[in-house]
């Protein structure tokens, strides 16, 4: 080709396509080179029918390529149309070997030997061209594959999936429907995948649909002919070296920048980390003038961002100063506290004044700010109140605030939070009510980050998690143990302290263990039980904000009972030796621990027959997972006359559809636990709601606001069967007394579809949050059998206090 192009774009992924389409639109001479036989190769390789999301939702799309959330097939079809419409100069099967020259005169050498000359080069090759392989012998054997098109292609095979990220987990879940699947993860936990995928995976493992091997590495892969298997995977697992015979290996180990090649071109990287992205200017220009890098290789892995970057890079090449797509949104947010500063100044200000966020890249911070907000608050205003059910996280940029922690005796204890600090992490971590009231002392500027974004951040950015843990440990001690401890003692107490995480059912310590320390709960709940004569008695139920394990600490004997996590639990473990030393110095702490110790001893001695029955009932409820609930609907079957008035009342107050079935659920003795929503501390339904319409109100009700798209994720994620997908009668009116008397009302079964039916949407119990009188089911029970109660209150009533 003799022609000299203005721009050569390498890689026809979202970024490259968007850049080429914009160039075509403006009539700029351009060429788009793609190594694969079709454009958008990565999307093309997605699992068939995969739903592609258009995150982040608030970010406007700025590209001539059309893009909105949809299936893989829809998106590919749309793009194909856009390419033809804009007459994009696309060359397929054109692999680039070398880039030479400088701004104004680049020579691009193709694998075919052809050379293309262009004034500017846009590198949009992404990461997927450089997929990480197993890196062991046998990695290229047939049936060892690094992608999965259609999981339905394989039936009745034994398949080993390697990799604990989203791709691996999603593949494993899809394959497990009709194959035996073994998933191998290098790490101890599946911490790299989305929570919703994690929940599904855990359910599948529990139901023995998938076998998981954690902390396992593949040593080598060999061919195998026995029993019609084709491969043998030899892996190092915690149990030793294991050989697994299988038909197929699917390895999903991510991808990394093709660093060697990029460095040969002359592109520089900021450090030696294999995952790091090239050094770029704000206008995506690399250290080589005229060579631009956009898309995933430039550090923005989301499709929408890549499309925007593709558009912008063409403008930059033309010398136009376009704003980034999120700029106006960010400017608006920043102007709420300072109208004169620019967005980059504002971002810089946040980085300087919020050390907890300083480890983020500018791009990450921008994204975070899109989801969060900046608040300017006047002095003497309340940010949140003790007992509120909010869960966002706040970082203080300017000003001073007072934190009023409620002490065990009900009085408030006062702490100060200054600029550079943060608060609100306790509610975020525990998923429970706020443990303190926070109000401003002076005028303040705060960054508020919603729960969902902050959790994502904690899981993905190590520095954020570390800083959060450091500060929160001190606060946990003050909150759970003693709020008046002097700073020096507090620091001493935290020597050697560690944060430990447990899953539901994990044993924290066992009867007969040596006491290793004092346990403070910062998330979740545990039960203490003792085995006597073959049966297990639940002695107590301890929730977030309390401590346990003090008994053996003082009597210097072995643990007299077993502690087990009943939901996902996080604990701050204080070392035994240190605790004993501090207790010797501090009389108040000693008194408190000793009083508690004596109470336990007395309760232990006085346990009677009736108590044991209640304990067995509570033990049963804990097994049913009420440990992670905040409000359960129990029916006392010794009072319930089975009139189903509760269900009828529910239907009448919720558009004719009962949100639970009285009969469904589980009965133990005379206690019936219904399938009505339990309003979990960390609601599963919230894990993966694309339109983000599931919220928790200040009073604690988890509800689905308007805007449900009917995807059914929440229903699938709920382990308690509390969500239904139904067409709702939009014109529903509560039946009158007259209709009720004539029997023209809800009778336990829906007779016909409603007249004004909506599309199917998710519906669930909202605790009748709009009704000042409380849940209709409870109010409608004539005999007082139905009750809405929190597990803590239940445990208290069990204790008879």
């Amino acid at each position: 080709m003799d022609e000299k192009f203005k721009v050569a774009i390498i890689g026809a992924g979202p970024a490259g396509l968007s850049a080429a389409a914009h160039a075509a639109e403006l009539g700029i001479s351009h060429i788009l080179l793609e190594a694969a036989p079709h454009p958008a190769n990565t999307v093309h390789k997605y699992q068939k029918g995969k739903l592609v999301m258009a995150e982040p939702a608030v970010l406007p799309l700025r590209s001539s390529m059309v893009f909105s959330a949809g299936t893989r097939e829809d998106i590919l079809e749309t793009w194909q149309r856009d390419i033809q419409r804009d007459k994009v100069n696309l060359h397929l099967n054109a692999r680039v070997d070398e880039i030479k020259g400088e701004r104004g005169n680049f020579q691009i050498v193709l694998a075919s030997g052809e050379t293309i000359t262009a004034e500017f080069v846009v590198l949009a090759i992404g990461l997927q061209g450089n997929i990480n392989k197993l890196g062991v012998s046998g990695e290229d054997l047939p049936n060892v594959q690094y992608q999965l098109d259609d999981p339905r292609e394989f039936i009745d095979e034994t398949i080993v999936v390697v990799g604990g990220g989203d791709a691996g987990v999603e593949n494993a879940l899809a394959l497990a429907k009709q194959n035996r699947v073994i998933i191998l993860n290098r790490e101890e936990e599946f911490s790299r995948c989305k929570e919703s995928n994690l929940a599904l995976l855990q359910a599948a493992i529990k139901a023995h649909r998938i076998e998981a091997k954690i902390s396992s590495r593949v040593e080598y892969v060999d061919t195998e002919t026995e029993n019609d298997f084709s491969l043998r995977v030899v892996a190092k697992t915690p149990k030793g070296v294991e050989a697994i015979n299988c038909h197929r290996v699917i390895a999903r180990l991510g991808a990394s920048p093709p660093r060697k090649w990029l460095e040969s071109v002359g592109v520089q990287f900021p450090n030696s980390d294999t995952a790091s992205t090239p050094v770029l200017s704000e206008q995506y220009e690399s250290n080589i003038p005229g060579l631009y890098i956009v898309g995933a290789l430039g550090g923005s892995p989301l499709i929408k961002q890549a499309l925007n970057h593709g558009y912008e890079v063409i403008e930059y090449i033309l010398g136009n100063q376009v704003e980034a797509a999120d700029e106006p949104l960010l400017r608006q947010k920043i102007s709420s506290f300072n109208t004169s500063c620019s967005v980059s100044e504002g971002i810089d200000f946040i980085r300087r004044n919020a050390p907890v966020l300083s480890g983020l890249t500018v791009l990450q911070l921008r994204e975070l700010l899109l989801e969060g907000s900046i608040l300017s608050v006047r002095s003497e205003e309340i940010i949140f109140k003790y007992g509120d059910y909010t869960s966002s996280f706040f970082s203080v940029l300017e000003g001073e605030l007072a934190v009023l922690v409620r002490d065990k005796d009900g009085s408030d204890i006062y702490f100060q939070v200054k600029a550079g600090n943060f608060f609100g992490e306790m509610g975020l971590i525990s998923g429970r009510r706020r443990s303190a009231t926070v109000k401003t002392i002076t005028d303040c500027v705060l960054v508020e980050i919603p729960r969902r974004s902050m959790l994502k951040l904690i899981n993905s950015v190590e520095s954020v998690r570390r800083r959060l843990d450091e500060v929160s440990m001190k606060r946990i001690v003050r909150n759970c143990l003693i709020s008046t401890l002097p700073g020096s003692d507090l620091n001493y107490l935290l020597q050697g302290a560690a944060i430990k995480r447990y899953k539901a059912g994990d044993v924290i310590f066992s009867q007969g263990d040596k006491a290793d320390g004092l346990y403070l709960i910062r998330r979740g709940s545990i039960v203490i039980s003792r085995r006597t004569g073959g049966k297990e008695d639940v002695l107590s139920y301890v929730v977030t904000g309390n401590y346990f394990g003090e008994m053996a600490l003082f009597s210097e004997r072995l643990r007299s009972a077993t502690a087990r996590a009943v939901s996902e639990t996080e604990i701050v473990l204080l070392k035994a030796q240190v605790v004993v030393e501090v207790v010797e110095r501090n009389k108040e702490l000693r008194d408190q621990l000793v009083t508690r110790y004596r109470e336990h001893v007395i309760r232990d001695v006085e346990r009677g027959e009736h108590q044991e029955q209640l304990e067995s009932m509570f033990g049963f409820l804990v097994e049913q997972g009420i440990g992670e609930a905040t409000d359960i609907l129990l029916i006392d079957y010794s009072l319930c006359i089975r009139c189903n008035n509760c269900e009828t009342a529910c239907a009448n107050t919720h558009k004719g559809i009962p949100l639970f079935k009285r009969e469904a659920g589980i009965t133990h003795g005379q206690v019936h636990l219904t399938n009505a929503c339990r309003h979990c501390e960390h609601p599963y339904c919230m894990l993966d709601c694309p339109p983000d319409v599931i919220h928790r109100s200040v009073n604690g009700e988890v509800f689905i606001a308007d805007g449900c798209i009917g995807c059914g994720n929440c229903k699938n994620n709920c382990p308690y069967d509390a969500i239904q997908m139904e067409a709702v009668d939009t014109e529903f009116k509560e039946p009158s007394l007259w209709q009720m008397l004539l029997g023209d009302a809800y009778q336990g079964e829906k007779i016909q579809a409603p007249d004004n039916a909506s599309a199917k949407i998710a519906i669930k119990c909202d605790l009748c949050m709009d009704n000042v009188m409380g849940p209709a089911c409870v109010r409608a029970c004539p005999t007082g059998a139905a009750m809405r109660i929190s597990p803590e209150a239940l445990a208290l009533s069990m204790r008879g206090s």
Partner: protein, 309 residues
């Protein structure tokens, strides 16, 4: 665990209503003349007791309405009520909700009051009548009232007694349907197992499957009694037929017998479940119509009294 209808709020309504009755009885005893033609409704005490009884009757009837319609005090939720970042949502309820909850917004409180007021009405109305009865609309109202109250007393007994028995009878099963499914499965097993035996045995098992009735007419429902129940008969006759079988048939016959015996036990459970349900429900078919009839008679009584005044 929970309080029942009688000891609700530590016998709150029993206390209130006992006091009311004591006052009424004492007033009646001190009112002169205590007996004779003027003792009934015509005196000032009679009128007072009459007005009080009418008010009590209205409250009693209001329970029926309250049971069907739960009072609502709603605040509309709009899309903007979803707590958006940066917006601190005010606590929309709080003290008002607690006040209502603690002051009898529950139906249980209503039923507790309904029960005790009903019993009190026996005393109030009898004193109001001054123990004088006759063949007239006044005594008709009294009689209808008494039927309604007595049936209500039975209802209270049923509500307190049967739920516990019902749960125990289900023995850990969650639904009646689950029980029926179990019976169905046993029927299927029995049919298969019976095929290898004589026609007589097959016919017994078949009839037990086809003709065993759970529920039935009111008497059968209330007593859980079914005369010549095919399942019970099959079990009985199988026992006799088993004696004629050869030794090598015995083992599989025992299996069949076990299945049928299990089915009989489950059928008994199902009938008991129906029985408890029926016993907790049938009295309402007396209580409600008689209550409404009483209201009618009461209106007639009041009009008559006022007309002939």
């Amino acid at each position: 665990m929970q309080h029942n209808v009688l000891n609700y709020k530590n016998y709150r309504y029993l206390k209130i209503i006992s006091l009311m009755m004591v006052v009424a009885i004492v007033a009646y005893l001190f009112h002169q003349p205590a007996t004779g033609a003027d003792a009934y409704g015509g005196s000032w005490l009679g009128y007072s007791l009459g007005i009080l009884s009418t008010l009590v009757a209205i409250v009693l009837m209001a329970y029926g309405a309250r049971k069907r319609i739960a009072p609502m005090r709603t605040e509309r939720r709009s899309i903007s009520n979803a707590p958006s970042p940066g917006q601190t949502v005010p606590n929309r309820r709080g003290r008002e909700r607690n006040w209502l909850r603690h002051h009898g917004a529950t139906l249980q409180g209503w039923l507790s009051a309904h029960t005790f007021l009903g019993i009190a009405l026996i005393v109030l109305a009898t004193l109001h009548a001054g123990f004088q009865f006759g063949w007239n609309v006044h005594t008709l109202a009294y009689a209808l009232m008494m039927v309604a109250i007595v049936s209500g007393c039975y209802g209270t007994y049923a509500y307190l007694r049967f739920p516990t028995l019902m749960t125990a009878n289900m023995d850990g099963r969650d639904t009646f349907d689950a029980l029926m499914l179990e019976i169905d499965e046993l029927d299927e097993q029995a049919s298969v197992k019976s095929l290898q035996f004589s026609d007589e045995i097959c016919a017994l098992v078949f009839r037990a499957r086809q003709e065993t009735l759970i529920g039935g007419n009111l008497f059968q429902q209330l007593m859980a009694y079914h005369h010549k129940c095919p399942t019970a008969q099959a079990v009985k006759q199988l026992q006799a037929l088993g004696k004629n079988l050869s030794y090598d048939q015995l083992e599989s016959f025992d299996e069949l017998y076990m299945v049928m015996a299990q089915k009989k036990a489950l059928v008994r459970r199902a009938r008991l479940d129906v029985m408890y349900r029926a016993r907790m429900e049938f009295w309402l078919y007396v209580h409600v119509p008689f209550s409404i009839a009483f209201m009618g008679a009461l209106v007639a009584h009041i009009i008559a009294v006022l007309y002939y005044w």
